[in-house]
Structure formats: structure tokens, C-alpha cells
Symmetry: C2
């Protein structure tokens, strides 16, 4: 893992890194003592976004305020990463459907499942490298926070990687994800939008139902896919801080 | 409103009061300056409980920690209040059904609707008297917090009383309540238990759907009717403090 740039703003340090061909960013409270964090949170961006998108930056600040180290990477085909022919084909189709006012949800979720298959091993390699950093520490409890595309990546990742002890997931439905959700047993906070134009209400409820976690909470709010209220971001950061503190203690 | 006793424990003052034949309790941070509160929260107890039941006491402490004044009363037929012949008949039927292992939800919700019809004017009279107290202040923004029986009382009360600016409700379904819910426009945090043995899942979801509030949040957790996790009580107190602060500011 190579670090390439560092800036500090509003008491939060932000460092760019690369692991092989995966570009990422690491945030933590400026001056935080090495290894003395509440935990490490993997922040996954949504569709059309990247590791430094505004939603990721906002969540990184909430994490830092809670003493959490946070890391984001570009998903395959997003941000600074090259697009494959399939990525370009998806974008062309997506723009055509959207311009025509036709439903694109089916296309998006099939594409996202393919992105997730590539993103899960990326995240696992990045997580291994992050836990070797003195600033993070090998015993940092690990959480995951991702919705929409980040939820589509998160469900199979959290199901596959026992190092992840708690997750905020959401804005996805049972389609392609229910089987992996049934293998998740760690605490989950699951977000849905009550009037989501991409994820049918019953599909989101069915995915929440599918998680095997004894401790899981569904948070639903009115509004469309992209209209999650800010209070849910604050609640997500609090949930992760509480869960990772508990994981570190027990 | 007559005050009859006062105790202070753990930094919280607790005063018993009576308004006509309605017995109640008022909590606030010990030494709080008169009128300098975050708001006033009406705390309604659940079925089989009363104004000093453990759930009410726990919520009163969370309110006090957030700078909120909190008040509870005994619902008609509960706690220190006399039972009517209908109350006694309900209890007899309820015990018979429960002892026989037969479903009692229908009986409970019909009875609760009758209790609510008597409890709504009680709460409105108590609220008027509380707002005249120097310790509360006429401009204190008012919230409501009640689930199960307290939800059955709260939905018609919040629909009827424009002084209530935010509400935590839950553990009830659309049955008898959907029409009143559709007249509620203030922010609502709605709790449901995913495996509620009394309230069918779809009935709870339909009641959440019925609230006319632009700002409403559904919180669902696994477990039976009485198994709401403690973190939801903390989240409820935070919600009320945030909403009442916003109501006072705007």
C-alpha cells in the first residue's frame, strides 16, 4: 500500500493511497494516536460516484468525529479506475434508457452484481493492508457502510469476510442478494426509502427479513432512492461506533 | 393541578401531581431553571403498566438527560385509577384467553381503542395545565412518546392536538388507527417489532404508510412485542430532543 498525498482540514487527516491498481483514501482524526481508534469503517460509494464523492466525504467526517478511521476505494469501473467494454456498454444503455424515461432498475442491479463480484476481493485485499498499518492497528474492529451500489457490494462482502463485525447497508432489495444476506450474522442497520423508484418496497423488506443477524434494525424514510435524510447518516455513524466499541470490548 | 410529593434521585426531580381525578408524575433535571428546557414530553405507559412502571421511568431518565421535562399519567382504568365494570370484564376475558393460550390481540386492540377515547381528553387537560407551570413554560415545544397502548392513545391524540410537534409511536397497526394517522403531519418516529405476536407485520407497515407526515421514520427490530431493544429508547429520546429543538427554533 503506497501513500501518495496527505491533506488535513477541519481536524481530519485525509491520505490518498493505492494498493496495486486500487486507488483509495484513508481518513482519521488529525493527531489520533496510532492504533487508538474506535474502529475502522470501510466506506463504499454509490452508483455514479467515487471514493471522494460528497456522500463519502460526509460519512468520513462523521466517522472521524466518532473516533473511527474510515477508508474508501473506487469500485471497479468508477472514479480513477479504467472502464471495461462492459462498463462502457452499461453506461451507454443506462443513458439511453434514462433519456427515454424507461425503467433502468433491472439493468442497474444486474450491472451492480457484476461490479460487486469484482469489488469484494478488492475490499478484502485493501482491508488486509489497512490492518497492517500502525495507524489502524491489527486489532481495530472493522465495520462496513455502503448503500445502493455500496449495498450491493456490501451484502456479499460482509457475508464472506468474518473480520467485518457490523454493517450499515441499504437501498437494495432481495434480487441477487437474499442468499448472501442469509449468511450474515453480525449486527446490521438497514436503510430503505419508502418511495424508492429503483427498489420495490417489498423487495427491500424481504432483504431485511433475510439477514440472519440476531441484531438488525430497519430504518425506513419517505422519499426517493437518493433522498435519505441526513439524520440517517448521523445514526449510521453512531451505530457503527457503538457496535465496534462493543466488538472491541467483547 | 395539585403537587403531592417530590423526590430527587440521580439528578432527576420527580413530582407527583393530580389534575381532578387524573394522577400523574412530572420529571425534570434537578435544578433546571424554570422554563429553560428542551421541551415537554408526554410519556404514555403500555398495557398492564402505569405512570411509574419501569419502562416509563427509564424513558423519563433519558428525557431528563436530554434537558426535556417529561410527564406521565395513569390511563383510565390503570395504576391508581378506578376500574369500570368494562375494565374488569376485559381483564377477566384477557386472563382467560391468555391462560388458554388463545389469541388475545383482537380483544386487546378493541379495549385499547376504548381506553384511548377516554385518555385523549385526559391528556389534553393535563397538557394545558402543564403548560401553565412556570417550570415548564407556555412556549415549551411538546412531544409525545408512547407505544402499544401508548401508541393506541397517541395516534388519535397527536391527530387531534396541534400543540404536539413530534411523536414517537409504535407497536400498533392500522386497525382502528389508520384514519387518525392520515391526519398527522408532524415528524413521527414509528417503532415496530418484526416478529410481533400481537400486531401483524403488514398492519404495522400499513400504519406507517398512513401517516401524512413529510418527515417520518420507521424503525423495525427483530423480536416479539415486548422486546424493543434499549437502543431504540435512546434513539427516541434523541429524536424528540432534536425535533423539539427544531420546533422551538422555527
Amino acid at each position: 500500500m503506497r501513500f501518495t498525498a496527505e491533506t488535513t482540514a477541519d481536524g481530519v487527516s485525509q491520505r490518498s493511497f493505492a494498493l496495486d491498481d486500487i486507488p483509495g483514501v484513508l481518513w482519521q482524526p488529525a493527531g489520533q494516536t496510532a492504533g487508538k481508534n474506535t474502529g475502522l469503517v470501510l466506506l463504499a460509494h454509490g452508483g455514479g460516484q467515487h471514493k471522494l464523492g460528497p456522500a463519502v466525504l460526509g460519512r468520513a467526517r462523521l466517522c472521524a468525529a466518532a473516533g473511527l478511521v474510515a477508508a474508501a476505494i473506487d469500485a471497479p469501473g468508477f472514479g480513477d479506475r479504467p472502464r471495461t467494454a462492459a462498463d462502457e456498454q452499461f453506461l451507454t444503455q443506462f443513458r439511453r434508457l434514462t433519456a427515454a424515461g424507461e425503467p433502468a432498475a433491472g439493468l442497474v442491479f444486474r450491472y451492480n452484481a457484476g461490479v460487486a463480484a469484482r469489488a469484494v476481493p478488492d475490499w478484502q485485499a485493501v482491508l488486509s493492508a489497512l490492518l497492517e498499518l500502525d495507524d489502524v492497528g491489527p486489532d481495530a474492529p472493522v465495520g462496513y457502510w455502503g448503500t445502493s451500489l455500496g449495498g450491493g457490494i456490501g451484502v456479499p462482502l460482509v457475508a464472506a469476510d468474518q473480520r467485518i463485525r457490523a454493517a450499515v447497508l441499504g437501498l437494495v432489495g432481495r434480487d441477487t442478494l437474499a442468499e448472501a444476506a442469509a449468511r450474515i450474522t453480525v449486527p446490521v442497520q438497514f436503510l430503505m426509502q419508502w418511495d424508492d423508484e429503483l427498489v420495490p418496497r417489498d423487495d427491500a423488506l424481504a432483504l431485511f427479513d433475510a439477514f440472519a443477524s440476531a441484531e438488525k434494525t430497519l430504518h425506513a424514510n419517505p422519499g426517493r432512492h437518493a433522498e435519505v435524510p441526513f439524520s440517517e447518516h448521523e445514526a449510521a455513524a453512531s451505530f457503527l461506533a457503538r457496535q465496534l466499541t462493543a466488538a472491541a470490548a467483547g
